[in-house]
């Protein structure tokens, strides 16, 4: 990973156009969010409430999942469980095969990205079409989402215009957003009509009522879950909440935190397949519940907070590191701060532990998180997990980032700094011999001058001025 992430960083930073584009996009998202939270007391009490709702749900997670399953089955939604993404893919594949599905149309789903579902299905000869406009664009470009809410955020209007022109040469070139949107509308409406099945993610699952809630603006989610005769929803086991009354506050905080909208155009609550007498809606609805490391995260009391996430992306929008890099440099499904706590836990610290180090711990993410996940604290915790060697704890890849040289250096430092006399001697020598110290300090001095060491340590000055020191 180390080399991979570093390459991604260097590539992203050298793309001037991308950096300008990202900065403007993030500035505008930050501004929009701010505008819909004019009352900071209301915001804080809502955050507190939503944190409580999610924490409550996690505290009862196994029971809520069982209850949800029972309610769903009562209403005719078939529930499936998958421990791994491979298992989830084969469940989906089996359902599709039993219905002889050739064409699948997809609403936006980050869990399906996590599963690598498109590749898995295409390998089996099933056409998998992304219908969210942003996802459609990146699928055309053969890329992955660079943001969990706005997947094509990294692309400029001109890039998209050129892409459309290349892929649909019959349609005249245009970089007008309305025209580009109309092109996509035309193509995708045909696909909704023809699709044998629709696949979506889920924003919230309600245990009490067995409800699948979907949040969207475009209507592709509704199309995918209503027009084809078969609907499959895939989601993580952590998405469940206890009651229907938990949904309004979460929805309000989700849309406002994500895009600064008071609400999205559509909020779609699904409670079952087409009932006798109904004229539309899928004949069958399936729900696939994916674990993929979540139950392991669940086992740690502190790290469990990771699972409170409602995927609004506010932490990403406010992250100074993401703003410099964009999503692709991370090389993971979920980028930005949430990705940097979630991905190393899912994939193991050995491979992705570096992400927890790629943060200044500035706290901007934790400050905006609608469910108050203490992201900086969890990043710090994962750094510890990466180098601790006591063999306790649940985190995958624990201790795998420990390097002997580094451990020794910290050990030496701690000896020095826990023995005041020794420390004073060291500081004093640094002052006396400061002219002899190197002026080039590795990468630090590529863009900065080396810090100058004072002629006299502060302690000596304080003593000279007669400050008491007992």
């Amino acid at each position: 990973m180390s080399g991979e992430f570093h390459d991604g960083v260097v590539k992203a930073l050298s793309n001037e156009a991308l950096r300008g584009h990202l900065r403007r996009a993030m500035d505008s998202l930050i501004e929009k969010r701010l505008a819909v939270f004019p009352d900071s007391d209301e915001l804080e009490s809502l955050r507190h409430r939503c944190m409580g709702i999610r924490a409550n749900a996690l505290s009862k997670l196994p029971d809520l999942l069982v209850h949800l399953e029972a309610r769903c089955e009562e209403q005719g939604i078939r529930v499936h469980w998958a421990e791994t993404t491979a298992e989830a893919n084969s469940i989906v594949l089996e359902i599709l095969r039993s219905h002889r599905v050739e064409r699948l149309v997809k609403g936006k789903s980050m869990v399906s990205e996590e599963m690598g579902l498109n590749h898995a299905l295409e390998a089996e000869g099933i056409e998998c079409l992304e219908s969210d406009l942003g996802e459609f664009i990146i699928q055309l470009a053969g890329e992955t989402p660079s943001h969990i809410v706005m997947p094509a955020l990294h692309k400029s209007k001109q890039e998209i215009a050129e892409l459309f022109h290349e892929k649909f040469p019959d349609i005249p070139y245009s970089d007008d957003v309305d025209e580009l949107t109309a092109v996509a509308r035309g193509i995708l409406r045909e696909k909704f009509m023809q699709a044998d099945a629709g696949l979506s993610g889920v924003n919230f699952l309600v245990a009490e009522t067995g409800t699948l809630c979907l949040v969207e603006n475009e209507g592709n989610g509704r199309m995918s879950t209503t027009v084809p005769p078969l609907h499959i929803a895939v989601t993580g086991i952590e998405k469940v909440v206890e009651r229907l009354t938990d949904v309004p506050p979460l929805l309000s905080l989700l849309t406002r935190s994500a895009t600064g909208q008071p609400i999205t155009t559509y909020f779609n609550m699904i409670n079952g397949p087409r009932q006798p007498g109904e004229k539309d809606g899928p004949q069958e609805v399936h729900l696939v519940l994916l674990d993929n490391g979540r139950s392991r995260i669940f086992a740690d009391e502190e790290l469990q907070a990771t699972l409170r996430c409602i995927r609004c992306g506010a932490c990403i929008n406010h992250c100074p590191v993401y703003t410099r890099l964009g999503g692709h440099a991370y090389g993971t499904v979920y980028p930005g701060p949430i990705g940097s706590i979630l991905e190393p836990q899912k994939e193991g610290l050995e491979r992705l532990g570096e992400l927890a180090e790629a943060s200044t711990l500035c706290g901007a993410c934790g400050e905006v998180c609608p469910v108050r996940i203490p992201i900086p604290k969890l990043l710090n915790r994962l750094r510890w997990e990466g180098v601790r060697h006591d063999g306790s704890g649940e985190t995958a890849g624990q201790g795998k980032r420990r390097k002997q040289s580094q451990a020794l250096a910290w050990k030496g430092w701690s000896t020095l700094a826990s023995h005041p006399a020794l420390y004073r001697t060291a500081v004093k020598s640094a002052s006396r011999f400061r002219r002899l110290l190197p002026q080039q300090l590795g990468p630090w001095t590529h863009v900065r001058k080396a810090p100058e060491i004072a002629e006299k340590p502060l302690r000596e000055l304080a003593e000279e001025e007669g400050f008491s020191h007992e």
């Binding site: 020095l416 990468p443 863009v447 302690r459």
Partner: protein, 220 residues
């Protein structure tokens, strides 16, 4: 220290203080951080407030000591120390209600509030309130004011490219204000921002807020 003393406080500078332990803590080396932090706990036996002239050290002592020492024999002592920690500008405004008389020449100043001071210690406006009292100081505001400067301790070493991009943008924003002086309550940010300005050649001078307040208000 001179500033506090002038306000009638008795200032104690424990000579055995070394480091709060933050570098190791943020590097993931908690045992080493605890060892160093534990050596600081005995230095503040009396119930006096502990004033820290750096947001991130204050944040470490106030918010992370309780976690670091939880379940250890130092727990009670660590919580007691944490309760008494103040970041300097917060202490000057909230406890001392410091009134300042500016004796210096007119100067344009930009303030960079460190992330720890802003978000951990919750003193985002304290330094500006103090600077606002100085008649000769024209306080200018940089764009993306609340954004991190890119220091982040070991981050600057482990992710030098990202850190460089961030400090590059930060110095650019500060430069655009036309400020002659950039100040902050955090030595880490100042080392980062100041070091970058020096490398770039020209640019505002940097100095710690304590030094600025003292230099502009002291009778000569």
């Amino acid at each position: 220290m001179r500033l506090l003393q002038r306000e009638g406080l008795r200032v104690i500078f424990p000579r055995n203080q070394t480091c709060c332990g933050q570098p190791a803590y943020n590097g993931g080396y908690r045992d080493e951080a605890r060892r160093v932090a534990a050596a600081q706990l005995d230095l503040f036996p009396q119930s006096y407030p502990i004033v820290v002239p750096s947001g991130s050290c204050a944040g470490m002592m106030k918010h992370h000591y309780p976690d670091l020492f939880a379940g250890t024999p130092w727990q009670v002592q660590a919580n007691d120390v944490a309760d008494r920690v103040w970041e300097l500008t917060g202490f000057l405004t909230e406890v001392l209600d410091l009134q300042l008389k500016d004796l210096g020449e007119p100067v344009r100043v930009a303030m960079h509030t460190s992330c720890s001071a802003r978000r951990e210690m919750g003193v985002a406006n304290a330094a500006e309130a103090l600077l606002g009292q100085l008649q000769g100081v024209e306080l200018v505001e940089q764009d993306h004011k609340s954004e991190c400067c890119g220091f982040g301790g070991t981050f600057a070493v482990k992710q030098p490219e990202i850190s460089a991009a961030m400090v590059g943008d930060k110095t650019e924003s500060l430069r655009r204000t036309g400020a002659e002086l950039v100040t902050s309550q955090d030595c880490g940010c100042l080392m980062n921002i100041g070091g970058a300005f020096e490398k770039q050649g020209d640019g505002p001078k940097t100095c710690h807020i304590a030094e600025l307040l003292w230099e502009r208000t002291r009778e000569r």
